[in-house]
Symmetry: D2
Subunit: 356 residues, 4 copies
């Protein structure tokens, strides 16, 4: 399987460059018979889209989806479902300079070294626009999950130095969907927004953390040894462009804990805690699956940076144009999308390998 | 591909239960012609083995490897290399009780729910003994890497509340190999050992963090979009039994940073920093690859815990027997092994997809 | 990997229904740096196209390719190369009747039973139009092979009762490219054409055999045990819609032979014969790879046939519209295309697993 | 996935050399809960074993299976099931000469060229003994199928010039299991045996054809486009060492037919014929699946043959030792085994991708 495909029973294959003709995804292995709700797809696509609120980039990407195959009279047929988004309004002129200069923090240098050639317009294949394909696929997967009562909800829990406080009275997970940053803590939000706005003024950018909850997942999802639920989630999340870390349940904090406090003891009515994050031995245990993903600051900043050009000459670079000072709020839906794909894939596999 | 296989061009398939007849691994896709150095394999196997030092479990697992196929006159032939370890001295009697009781923090409950049947002896397939197969495979992969000058070195950087301090004068990465905990900071080591010994006295356990460095990796290793180097490393590490988190470069700390400080600026003689951890856009950039893995406290503790049995009755459980209060030092070599497999796999794939 | 993907190091993912919006293919894993010659692609697409000569269907499918991704300034970049063909002039009205009736010899019935839903227009996903995607991908693969001096040439060697005679003076393999049926035997061609024309008059159809030669393939291509060259070729060919048989070298005739005559003896200047068809133990031996593929008669015939409808009522069916009485000549290029994909895939893998 | 693995939801990984320490197989993805009947496994292993009757080689391979993992108290647990056969009585001395000489028709030359090294003892990895691993895996898969009422039955339908006649009164498919050649036609058997005995006297060998029936297979098994049932069967069969051809239903004969006679017309009580061999569009149609596999004559013959040695010097070779003049009767069970693996794999996948 090629490196642009992901999944086993369900698999997605993404393609497309930031300023190429189109980006898209082929989703293979879907259960036939589902009526696809395009409003759900578009809603998720819009959440990923820049310009969704005042804090994102000012670019207006149309991102209008077109379905090429796999749908008949609105029903998913089980043949490959292909969704594309044509690139219409990309101004490649903005990127002329960076054809020659390697942007720090971007993949320009490594692509050039690896492939010997690259489409430099807008970052080409390594652009964050690739997540558009994943979001579309995730929006399809999500509808299967929702039909089974499974929901996947992510939110912003840190921007720079500001983290949410789940014990605060201002914390309300369900309200995060109406929050400009998808942050479940309204009080923290103000500080986060201030950080982002300061970055915009400074020509800088900032990172953050997204937390994701998979709810109502039945027991038994995940395939040891190598396709453990957390392993596939980690693979999915760390394959996103700007991610630097993944943790499940207590995550890195578990490293500081004792077994006596980290173990989730059991009673007949369930687990007494959920330090594990809903997974034991790679298999869902019926509790909520909780994981977090760390995002680095957007590498595109307008501050002057030292770099080299393709001819190996030292140079300085100030990246102009409209760039997100913080990618995190837009990435929330992408995290949900990738989690949905992993979950649906493992749910299908569970059906294949049921006890007789 | 089954869930007990991992890798693309190189692939490993592990098998075996803790107290079954044997555990082992089939390694497929190896480049023919390498003379396999069994002392390297045995050295890595010994590092994983319990009882390697006073801090581990007192069990003496023989773990003597046997090679069933793929080697002719000491040379790897390119056909599947199969390595097994027969289970000789496993006392299954120790585990009689846990056939009936689900051990908190273990996979007993989820395996039973998922499969309807499980080998309960020593944790069966979900036992940490499965990493024996991975270590053997990694020890083979390592020899290919070393021949190319690539080395992979891991060490313990946190046990419970005690973290190393890389700026301390007691910090020396290269000395960690002689350290009882594979810790590069001798001063921190004392405190770590005290924590572990206290756990042993308390019938408790403690977690920790392992850091791993891949050195001399050439540029261009890693396959976007989904087989990014960090994505495969994360997959590999999170497929280990007790891991709860993975991060690369600045990792979760990057979430608190600004782009202006996180971006690695460049000069003609290389990058000016390595916040990225040696990867840009999923592709190695020539810098050292640096990642960390969080391990939870060993779930087997002798303190009394609340649990239920297979019949759904509430019960208490004190796990007797000789168990590691801290798995981290033994896991260091396993992290190296899995990193070696990922690295060799991606190096092979780089050869397949070279620019023409 | 999904069932609509094929290949390991190179992989293709095809999508699209006969009368859907578009058909296409994503090709992943290509070596970067090749300048794609679109005239080669179009030439192969045209050879597959109906209406290429008087013997095919009268439909004029435009089959104009559009490249969505993976190409920059005419050069293949190594990211997924996506090629689509929009469906413009499909008259779905022709197919209204067959929504209700299962066409004998077609996949209508099995798709309906398996998926519970299908796109019935023009056969939907099971239409021969799917080979358009494969042909486009094969035309890309072919250019890599040609650059290495490897050529792949197929021809029609049987139509119905008429087989070519390789010992005849009218036999000339290289002339088959100018032959209306891609037949290397001009004398046999006349009889084949008569058979096809008679079928058209009779509202019937006829089958045939295609032979394919892979020339200048280096030694060492093919991966035992399961990815033997002939096994992957068989998989590729038998995944085509109308194929019923595959054989390599002497093929089924080998079953009638003795070892003393079937074995290819060797001298220092090479093999003394090529009964094996260029493969020993699944690995190319430096001789020409020769295989044959059997095609059944096109199932769409205008003669009245007995069938049932979706409601389980007996009915009769005469398929109207313009249908090929013989698909074989158009399938020649499809066989070449699939052979090119298999060959390029295995050549890449050979690079990955070279002896050290 | 490595080239020594096969299958998607169920996958097998085979390993081992003819005269190495052991051969074996890891079967991954099995449904847990089946009580494994070892007598079924041993019966199939014995059918593959040489010396099963007077017509085979005189070698007595013990082929005693040992189960290393995946079974607990006789029940398959769903973790990897590993079966090995230790090589005890292999006389490597017999093969000394062939370390230097490439045996015509064998893979000695291609392995040496591809890998630069090979285990020459008994053909090493390319030995027919590899099918021992497949047979063991198939015997496991078969038990799942039988539980669902599905049976797989193969028989010898041609040896050299002698083919069975299904219209003869001596033809009885069900009696073939008691026939020395697994031939369903007693009259043809006599002539086949005479052919084989004559080969033995002549120091020669002969090929043949095996036909296989998959009975009671439900509708809907097989995954278009590339994982069509016949495509995976072809892949499986053509990955066997001595196979030269595969055909389904009418097979190569379909190439000579007209659509009007080849199409299987339908009535409400089923198909009126089964020219298709139980498959339409890659999906089982509820009819019996019928396919045939062509085997070449065993390449090991004692007649003097021209060859070259590893140093590139012309030489003659007479292969001594006890070799089968005809491999076909022993291959019957191997064909059944591989068919069972393909069928079980696709049945599992059908469960995963059911209509919602």
């Amino acid at each position: 399987m090629g490196p642009n495909s992901f999944g086993n029973s369900i698999s997605i294959t993404t393609f497309g460059e930031s300023h190429g003709k189109a980006l898209g995804v082929v989703i293979d292995g879907l259960n036939p018979g589902l009526r696809l709700d395009l409003t759900v797809v578009n809603r998720m696509m819009n959440r990923r889209r820049p310009g969704g609120n005042s804090l994102g980039t000012q670019r207006q990407e149309g991102d209008k989806i077109e379905i090429l195959s796999g749908l008949y009279q609105g029903i998913i047929t089980g043949t490959p479902l292909t969704i594309i988004v044509n690139n219409n309004n990309q101004k490649s002129g903005d990127y002329q300079k960076i054809e020659e200069l390697y942007r720090p923090g971007h993949a320009d240098y490594t692509y050039q070294q690896k492939y010997g050639i690259r489409d430099p317009r807008g970052g080409g294949r390594s652009s964050g626009r690739e997540t558009l394909s994943r979001t579309a696929a995730g929006a399809v997967a999500m509808q299967y999950l929702n039909k089974k009562g499974i929901t996947i909800e992510a939110g912003t829990v840190r921007i720079g130095k500001t983290a949410i406080d789940p014990t605060s009275t201002s914390y309300n997970w369900s309200k995060r969907i109406h929050n400009a940053l998808y942050c479940p803590d309204e009080e923290a939000t103000a500080s986060m927004i201030e950080t982002i706005e300061q970055c915009r003024r400074d020509g800088d950018s900032v990172g953050g953390i997204i937390e994701c909850h998979i709810k109502n997942l039945p027991i038994g999802v995940g395939e040891p040894a190598f396709d453990k639920l957390e392993a596939l989630l980690a693979h999915a999340m760390m394959s996103l462009g700007a991610t630097k870390g993944f943790e499940i349940g207590e995550g890195f904090h578990a490293a500081t804990m004792f077994g006596s406090s980290n173990n989730d003891q059991m009673r007949t009515d369930g687990f007494m805690s959920n330090h594990a994050g809903g997974i034991l031995g790679g298999i869902s245990n019926g509790e909520e699956v909780v994981f977090r993903v760390a995002f680095k600051p957007t590498p595109s900043i307008s501050q002057k940076q030292k770099t080299v050009d393709q001819n190996g000459i030292n140079n300085d670079l100030s990246i102009e144009g409209r760039h997100d000072p913080c990618i995190v709020p837009r990435a929330v839906v992408v995290v949900e999308a990738m989690a949905a794909i992993v979950t649906l894939d493992l749910l299908q596999i569970r059906e294949a390998r049921r006890p007789i």
